[in-house]
Symmetry: C2
Subunit: 411 residues, 2 copies
């Protein structure tokens, strides 16, 4: 099936206005996304666009691109300049169909099993709430965010920017749970979470189960979370209980988590062993290839983008969002000349901590003409967004500043 959001090489160089909007209007999705700033309060469905699935029917339809029932992304023009992504704007990506809504009706009765601790046990979410509580603000991002820019069209959803959000999760620190259960057993090297999705009958469990392992150092900041942005965690985002591992890619934040184990080895599941591995184009994933764990440094411009009136000469605020990923953000630069020169942008708004994103702005005085605008973030371990994406088989980890650059025409 042709994805209406599939990248079109000519689009990336398109102007914001005039001819560009006319061209964009040739697909109904883009006309709504970029040509018209629909009222985000209206729960409209664009003519010809896919409907939201029932379990995510409360999303802001006008703001989202529905790739499929299990892959829904936020349009760039709706990203705004607030500190957090509203829950109705947070992307959805499920590896399997979600369980029944029944599991979020009485969250406190959800059962989770713990292994690899001094006192392995099964307990309920209600009991976990008695142990401890903490919140973390963090970027949640799909490993394939930006896949739509890869020229070899990797299989999978052709995400652009919108498979990412900055949200607050609230739950119990995993280290508090481990302490309450007699501590982590000796020799354990991984945190392994198992999702509660119903598995199809008659197939090898390991080929389908959503079970991921990440280094045990994640224990420092991991939560078992029951709230998202202050609301009970909805099914669409892994409610009633989700493993939250700040700094790690989305797939590692196991939804409807039903088992949490400290393990000596990585999970034997396919999703761990061969999927979500970073390999050269043409090479299939294998256990020897890097796993999709750490979030890379990234940023992109969100304004001006295309929903505003045509840019006029004079002062313009170039704004966007930036995050350090696994390592804290240290700064972000903006270029208005296709990367030849860069100026340091100003971060603004509340600082929600090392795993969150920040919004930035750079005031520039623009004469009439055409400008290629881009942003480039840096983190504390010295990672800088590269000009070019790193080509890879599945189109993971795209943090190219060129791919997310935009052309701005000033009248």
């Amino acid at each position: 099936m042709q994805d209406p959001q599939a990248p079109n090489p000519s689009r990336r160089r398109a102007l914001f206005t005039g001819g560009a909007l006319a061209a964009m209007a040739s697909t109904p999705e883009l006309a709504l996304a970029d040509g018209i700033r629909a009222d985000p309060r209206a729960r409209v469905t664009a003519s010809g666009a896919k409907a939201l699935p029932e379990y995510a029917s409360w999303k802001d339809r006008a703001a989202m691109t529905v790739h499929s029932a299990n892959t829904i992304e936020l349009r760039r023009s709706y990203m705004g300049q607030g500190a957090l992504t509203p829950i109705q704007h947070l992307y959805v990506r499920n590896n399997l169909n979600p369980p029944s809504e029944d599991i979020v009706r009485d969250p406190d009765s959800w059962v989770i099993e713990f292994a690899g601790v001094g006192k392995p046990m099964r307990t309920t979410l209600g009991e976990l709430k008695r142990i401890d509580v903490a919140s973390v603000a963090m970027v949640l991002q799909c490993s394939g965010n930006g896949r739509g820019y890869f020229p070899h069209k990797p299989s999978g959803t052709q995400w652009r920017e919108g498979a990412a959000g900055c949200v607050v999760f609230t739950g119990v620190p995993l280290k508090s749970v481990a302490a309450a259960l007699g501590g982590v057993a000796s020799g354990m090297k991984y945190v392994t979470g198992t999702g509660g999705e119903p598995l199809p009958a008659g197939v090898d469990r390991n080929t389908v189960v959503v079970e991921r392992s990440i280094p045990i150092s994640a224990l420092d900041d991991a939560l078992l979370a029951w709230e998202l942005n202050g609301e009970p965690l909805p099914l669409a985002h892994g409610g009633p209980l989700r493993l939250v591992v700040p700094g790690y890619m989305g797939v590692n934040h196991i939804k409807y988590v039903k088992q949490l184990a400290f393990t000596a080895e990585q999970s034997a599941a396919k999703i761990q062993q061969t999927s979500y591995r970073f390999t050269p184009v043409g090479v299939k994933g294998s256990p020897s290839a890097p796993s999709l764990w750490e979030v890379p440094v990234n940023s992109w411009i969100t304004t001006p983008y295309g929903h505003e009136a045509p840019a006029r000469a004079g002062r313009v605020q170039i704004g966007g969002l930036a995050f350090g990923g696994f390592s804290p953000l240290t700064g972000v630069e903006v270029s208005i000349d296709d990367g030849r020169t860069w100026q340091t942008a100003r971060l603004f708004g509340p600082d929600l901590g090392r795993y969150a994103w920040r919004h930035f702005t750079l005031p520039v005085d623009l004469a009439s003409g055409t400008y290629r605008i881009a942003s480039r973030a840096t983190n504390a371990r010295g990672d800088v967004q590269p000009r070019e994406r790193i080509e890879n088989e599945r189109g993971y980890n795209n943090n190219s500043w060129l791919d997310r650059s935009l052309e701005l025409t000033v009248a």
Copy 2:
């Protein structure tokens, strides 16, 4: 008209469970609020409850108490433990009926007039966006929040806790606008904002206009805001443009702001001269009485509250939210013995700055019995929440820890 949320002296001492829930169930609103934890994703309307007004139809009905079309509050049991209040949970309070939704369809065309500056002028929201941008996280709270606890039943909405939220506003710093307009004219002592509500014909403007003045020191942090929690500011919260003055009570954050003036005197409007004044019971407001400006220090417990299973003996996390108001929060204590002894609670989650609230928790080990639990916050200028509310004619500024205390029965 009898307000279904009017305080009932026996309710404040009610138990969470058993007889208390049965008693609460005698009003449909309370049964939904406190007895049943309805799915906050469902946009249900409780049988017998008032409907949301059209301009706020996107609020989470199950989470809100609709006092009237212009007064809608968040139920305590829905306050959660995230950093921010989701926009669908933010209270609504309008002094007049809001303007037509038409004014938010093309936000950038909104016109605002500036006076009391070097170069007075009219300009548009679109032009303001070119000047500068900033965000602030802050508590927005109605002056009458907690009025429902006053025994003399002051006129006005009988708010309990829910006429408050912590949100992020994004817009242009007012000081950047003032600088761009030649600076504040000499001798000006107040920031005076005028709302864009349509005024009824045939009445003296000053008796109805929403126009408030606050000390010019507010200029340091004030914004003219067009986004709320990262979304275009909706009509219900003053869109397309609102004057935002962190640290000040809700009435001062002028909605649909159409004029912003630096003035030598306070506005002659009734809402400034005699309304929103703090006076003894039985005494009407006058210009000599304190104006409802600064937000007082406050806190309240949100969990355990009443939607959970009955508390069992053992470890319980007592949680809530606390804010310093005009002055930064420095700490919060919890008492489980009706205020005889206090323990310092732990603040958790991201710190969004001096005007935001924080969530707190205190783990306590409870034996079977009955406990009166309360919280008490302190700010940097040494204000401590008092045990008793300060009685006053209109029921303003309630920050009594006793009024918001709760009785917890442990089985």
